[in-house]
């Protein structure tokens, strides 16, 4: 794939700079939202569409609560909510200034770019998420949490309303 090879020495083109700015903005919004949402993180509504509809957790369930806990420096709870939450939180915190810098100066920070566009880091991340989610689902199945979640889902409620 010759045209997808990224050169470390070339400056960012307009499209890459726009994407860097967009990612930095999304990261900033995520952090600001975590600060604002922190008081309701444990009592607020379910934000995950899969969990809301089916009661089943998705691989990212707990990340919002984990980010909110990290905002308050509560690492213990952050790990409990999502094992990978603290690492992702730190990656977002580190990434925001780097992405803003790249977007505004159009100068490429090569090690960051290699990490962001590395297939290996993507596969590693996917493996970690798959493994963590599999363990979490097994544990929730064994302690009955999965069944209780499904009974409280929108689909189950609609079924009970229709069938009686």
């Amino acid at each position: 794939m010759k045209s997808t090879t990224r050169s470390d020495s070339l400056p960012l083109d307009a499209g890459q700079a726009r994407r860097s700015l967009l990612m930095a903005t999304i990261g900033t919004v995520t952090i600001v939202a975590s600060v604002l949402y922190a008081p309701w993180s444990q009592s607020g509504p379910v934000l995950c569409p899969l969990r809301l509809l089916t009661g089943l957790p998705c691989p990212g369930c707990g990340l919002t609560r984990s980010f909110c806990a990290m905002i308050h420096g509560d690492l213990q709870h952050a790990v409990t909510f999502h094992l990978l939450g603290p690492a992702l939180f730190l990656a977002v915190i580190a990434g925001i200034p780097i992405l803003f810098y790249q977007a505004t100066t159009r100068r490429r920070i090569s090690w960051w770019d290699r990490l962001l566009y590395s297939r290996r880091s993507g596969y590693l991340m996917a493996f970690a998420l798959f493994a963590y989610h599999a363990v979490r689902l097994t544990m929730e199945t064994l302690n009955g949490g999965l069944w209780r979640g499904m009974q409280a889902s929108l689909v189950a409620k609609a079924w009970h309303t229709l069938v009686g």
């Binding site: 794939m1 045209s3 997808t4 990224r6 994407r19 967009l22 990612m23 999304i26 919004v29 995520t30 934000l47 995950c48 569409p49 899969l50 089916t54 089943l56 957790p57 998705c58 691989p59 990212g60 369930c61 990340l63 992702l88 990490l115 962001l116 566009y117 590395s118 297939r119 880091s121 993507g122 596969y123 991340m125 996917a126 998420l129 798959f130 989610h133 599999a134 689902l137």
Partner: protein
Amino acid sequence: MAERSEIPVFKNEPILVLVLGLVTCGLYMIYWNMKAAEVLNKVSGREIISTPVAVLAGCCVPLNVYFYYLAGQSLGDLGTMIGKADELKGKSTLLLVLGFVLSPVAAMIVQGHINEIYDQK
């Protein structure tokens, strides 16, 4: 833009994307994002969607919106390849909205258009 023969094969029934996404509690969506990103990057001939972004988009709503924004950009190239440039360019906003509220439906739409690459081979 790449030749059709260079595009990696990722053909699925769109409804299967929804079913597998539900059955695997969202795990399949991570795999789907990675494979779709691979195809769309190849179609565009540049690395628009990085693998780490595709993976995290499968489990994080804000990044999922970003993923479908990038997918919408690639759809223009895909449209040119399958001869539906105008139709697919018009779908980028729809994908962005669906990526926020109903991401499996957005995935089904993208999968449907990816299938067209192989149907016309």
